[in-house]
């Protein structure tokens, strides 16, 4: 029960302090779930992001459910989803009832823009860290570059990029095994 409470509180806290969608959650989750709680490793987090992008639904919800599952099975997964979705029930209700005009207030917009720029800087900081941890060796770099190419100039769907990279990961390893076998 205590563990479920911790799962809820961690994801709730991360959700209310993120501005700008799923990718912004990565640095916050890394800080809270990986470093502070130690429930999953950096590698797990990136695995979940990869899987969360090729399973249907909202990416950060999926990541929360994967993490919850790892920590406490199906109930943990449900608590993770509840924690990520409950802030928006509150915030949107507030906006719809009271704040719709207030949101267009210039001071509020200035404050939000300031936070958003900070969030972009935070993402850049995290990408550097993740790149060091998750993109390993020539094979990793090769898959990284191919994926960038597929995502940006070619604009291929995210799920296809992840699925084809899984296949590449397998093929590259298979090739190196064959080479080793020949020697």
């Amino acid at each position: 029960m205590k563990l479920l409470g911790q799962i809820f509180w961690s994801f709730f806290k991360v959700t209310i302090s993120s501005f700008g969608g799923g990718y912004v959650l990565i640095p916050l989750l890394q800080e809270e779930i990986v470093k502070k709680r130690g429930w999953i490793s950096d590698e797990d987090l990136i695995n979940y992001y990869a899987l969360g992008q090729c399973t249907p639904g909202i990416i950060s919800m999926n990541v929360a459910m994967f993490t919850g599952y790892k920590v406490k099975g199906k109930i943990g997964s449900m608590v993770g989803a509840l924690a990520v979705s409950s802030p928006c029930l509150v915030f949107i209700s507030l906006v719809c009832f009271f704040l719709k005009d207030y949101m267009e207030n210039t001071y509020v917009q200035h404050a939000i823009n300031g936070v958003k720029v900070f969030m972009v800087a935070l993402i850049l900081h995290t990408i550097i860290d993740l790149f060091k941890k998750s993109v390993k060796g020539k094979r990793g770099l090769c898959i990284f570059l191919i994926s960038c190419l597929m995502a940006y100039p070619l604009e291929i769907g995210v799920a296809w990029i992840i699925i084809s990279s899984a296949f590449l990961g397998y093929v590259f390893h298979f090739k190196s095994l064959v080479e080793r076998f020949k020697k």
Binding site: N113, V117, L122, A166
Partner: protein, 173 residues
């Protein structure tokens, strides 16, 4: 049929078909507005704009908003539940097998490739977000100084959020 059940069914369809995150749900929502007329396209645009200025995942915010505009708070709740249920079932299924076969060599190789791709996607998304967010010199200076601060000074994230909000107001960002 009750409106809440209808909302639940429509959003669970989105939850099952929208692969790749929150913004992918927008074409589905546009389809709802055209087909069922629960909200107008203009309302949808407003929802997307406001959802991006509220904490939390954008996809959740938009779904809650759309449900709320259709049938009040419980409409929003039905939308969120509808959006989550398919993902929940699929993830429970996938997690079970991943845990079982995690140490299998093929699974490890596939995950190795997926991690590299995932970082690449975070990188390209980051560039995309940066292009949309950093639109003038003040913002660029703020961006660079934030980056230097985060990289070298470790503090609580809330300190940074309040600090950057204050700077945003002071410098009219």
């Amino acid at each position: 049929m009750s409106i809440y059940l209808l909302i639940f069914l429509e959003f669970s369809k989105i939850g099952l078909l929208a692969v790749g995150g929150g913004l992918v749900t927008i074409p589905f929502l546009l389809d709802i507005s055209e087909r069922l007329g629960w909200f107008s396209a203009e309302q949808l645009t407003e929802m997307i704009a406001i959802s991006q200025s509220i904490p939390g995942p954008i996809g959740n915010n938009i779904a809650m908003f759309a449900g709320f505009e259709t049938a009040g708070f419980f409409g929003g709740l039905s939308a969120i539940i509808g959006l989550t249920v398919p993902a929940y079932l699929i993830i429970s299924f996938v997690s079970k097998y991943i845990e079982k076969y995690y140490n299998h060599e093929i699974v490890q190789d596939c995950l190795f490739g997926m991690r590299a791709a995932s970082v690449a996607l975070i990188f390209t998304a980051g560039v995309e977000i940066a292009k949309l967010t950093i639109t003038n010199t003040t913002l660029a200076i703020m961006f660079i100084s934030s980056f230097i601060f985060i990289h070298f000074v470790k503090t609580n994230i809330f300190v940074y959020i309040i600090g950057s909000a204050t700077l945003g107001i002071l410098f009219k960002m």
